[in-house]
């Protein structure tokens, strides 16, 4: 857009730089005191020292995932809000996060997660994929926006019901605790192989969503006008559903459900891009990366054990922001 022309690249660059800085901080923060630079030296020289292991096996995956999941949630939230033209849409509105959570719970419940480590994220990804297929089946190829929302809400509540059913039927109370804690969302003890499994999916999802920027701008003026400006809305809807399925599905699969980031971050940043939904995408992705990484640093610095779950912290920080938004909207009405 014009009007905000020169600011936009600077804003993106600043947020990208901020994302990388908080990621670096995230690498330096942990429960064990390690000399990060020495550990890095060891790791690069392939010496299996304890600090090197802590850096590569614990700190690095946690920092990468914080950045990538935050980016996924912020970007997907902005994309869904732009598609549905509704500021209250969140990344899971089309049913993906519910499906991913259920898939992971099945991996827990069946005991597969105890047999091999990647069963949990694989289960989550499978759940997200199933949810997307169910959405396609329910809503149909030419689905309109309203049908898409209703089908998404249906899938989310059904997946939620199945998750509760699994908890309900669990013969082992310890497993129930474990599942519930996992669902609250955390980045603790994640491995590089989990990064390798989920990051490529997220990147494809990002590309699908970021390439829809112009269509989302056109959609500001309604569906007929967007179509008259040359955009295929049926294709756009499925591209964004596929993009958020990949990004959010992979995120939930590896970290559990982390709420509010995808809802709140686009709101906070919207005024800085002149409210243009296309420009909001990238900015919101970096914003989500910053917020989630900071929250993940905070849970490590807070003197609480076991550490607070990330999803709990983002909800605690996010709710007041949402409240102030409601207040502002009430003022306008």
């Amino acid at each position: 857009m014009t009007g905000h022309g020169p600011h936009y690249p600077a804003l993106v660059a600043a947020l990208a730089a901020l994302s990388l800085s908080v990621m670096l901080v995230s690498v330096f923060v942990g429960y064990a005191h390690i000399d990060v630079l020495a550990a890095l030296g060891d790791a690069l020289a392939r010496r299996d020292s304890l600090p090197a292991l802590a850096l590569v096996q614990l700190r690095l995956p946690r920092a990468i995932l914080g950045l990538a999941i935050g980016f996924s949630l912020g970007l997907s939230g902005a994309a869904m809000q732009g598609l549905l033209r509704n500021p209250l849409a969140d990344p899971g509105v089309v049913g993906v996060s519910g499906g991913a959570a259920f898939g992971a719970v099945v991996a827990f419940y069946s005991g597969l997660s105890g047999i091999f480590a990647l069963a949990l994220p694989l289960g989550g990804i499978a759940g997200a994929a199933l949810a997307a297929l169910a959405l396609y089946g329910l809503a149909g190829r030419g689905a309109g926006t309203m049908t898409l929302i209703l089908a998404g809400v249906t899938i989310n509540s059904f997946a939620g019901a199945l998750t509760s059913l699994a908890l309900n039927l669990s013969p082992n109370p310890y497993a129930v605790f474990e599942i519930m804690f996992w669902l609250m969302g955390s980045l603790i003890d994640r491995s590089l192989s989990q990064v390798a499994l989920t990051l490529p999916l997220m990147v494809v999802g990002w590309a699908l969503m970021l390439s829809s920027a112009r269509a989302l701008d056109a959609l500001t003026l309604g569906e007929d006008t967007a179509t008259s400006l040359g955009f295929d809305l049926v294709g756009l809807r499925w591209k964004l559903v596929a993009g958020s399925t990949l990004a959010v599905g992979a995120s939930v699969a590896v970290a559990g459900a982390i709420g509010f980031v995808g809802l709140v971050v686009p709101h906070l940043l919207r005024p800085f891009v002149g409210h243009a939904p296309g420009r909001l995408l990238l900015v919101s992705g970096f914003g989500g990366a910053v917020v989630l990484t900071i929250a993940d640093i905070a849970v490590r610095l807070l003197p609480m054990h076991p550490e607070l779950k990330l999803g709990v912290v983002t909800a605690l920080i996010g709710s007041p922001f949402l409240l102030s938004l409601v207040n502002r909207m009430r003022g306008q009405a």
Binding site: M1, G3, R214, D217, T220, G222, S228, L229, G230
Partner: protein
């Protein structure tokens, strides 16, 4: 580019909104699409713009079926102005008008100087210079309507298909907007406008298409829109007179 409707029917569920309409539209003229509420005007203009799928018959662009034309090319050839449009997000006026340049821009590319010039022309034509930094929420209904007209003008397409472009405007801005549409005709574009004000239709259009019940009742020069035709289709008695050599039509009383 020539736009034709060939034996066109459009349905919404079981209801046929447009029945077997055939039209041939040439650029360089201003066509008024008139008719009572529910006559099928919006459906017809949407179908001409490629936004409503025919149930039978087809739309032809330069003799070829409209669906064969790539979307982006159609978007550069036909600008469409929706009835009572709005913007979902509080974008600035200038940014909204710039959306009209989307069909001319590549993905991820910024506005070129040619795009910026087209936006400026549209802003100036719709007298919006003073409002460029405002959002639609800060404007009156009439100002908002002008912003949306300017957005459609910024496409600088071969055709402007406008659904009730002047409905929200005061008399002064109605006259100015009609002059604006005539300006599009002068630069060689074709304009189809859905109109309810029969005086504006008779004065500014080269050709009138009168719809009722989804069928074309009259297709001809404004002179063909006689008081008898209006009485029969609209059920209204009108005064049809002349002022400074131009016709006016004044609805006076409901008939029957």
């Amino acid at each position: 580019m020539r736009i034709e409707a060939s034996d066109l029917s459009v349905r919404y569920g079981a209801r046929e909104a447009i029945s077997r309409v055939s039209l041939n539209l040439q650029p360089g003229a201003m066509v008024g699409l008139i008719g009572p509420n529910g006559a099928g005007k919006t459906t017809l203009i949407r179908a001409l713009a490629g936004l409503a799928a025919p149930a039978a018959g087809e739309i032809l662009y330069n003799g070829a079926p409209s669906r064969k034309m790539p979307r982006d090319m159609r978007a550069r050839k036909i600008a469409y102005l929706a009835q009572s449009g709005s913007a979902e997000w509080p974008l600035q006026v200038e940014a909204i008008v710039a959306l009209g340049r989307l069909p001319h821009r590549r993905a991820f590319a910024a506005l070129t100087s040619a795009d910026a010039a087209a936006v400026e022309r549209a802003l100036a034509a719709a007298e919006l210079g003073a409002f460029r930094g405002r959002t639609l929420g800060e404007l009156s209904g009439g100002e908002r309507a002008r912003v949306l007209i300017a957005r459609a003008l910024a496409v600088e397409a071969d055709w402007l298909l406008a659904d009730e472009p002047v409905a929200a405007l005061d008399p002064l801005h109605q006259l100015r907007a009609m002059a604006l549409l005539r300006g599009e005709v002068l630069r060689g574009a074709g304009v189809v406008a859905v109109l309810h004000d029969l005086t504006l239709a008779v004065r500014f259009c080269d050709r009138l298409i009168l719809l009722n019940g989804g069928r074309v009742q009259l297709d001809g020069p404004p002179a063909a829109l006689t008081a008898e035709v209006i009485a029969r289709i609209y059920g209204v008695e009108v005064l049809r007179g002349e002022h400074r050599g131009e016709a006016f039509v004044l609805p006076w009383a409901a008939l029957g």
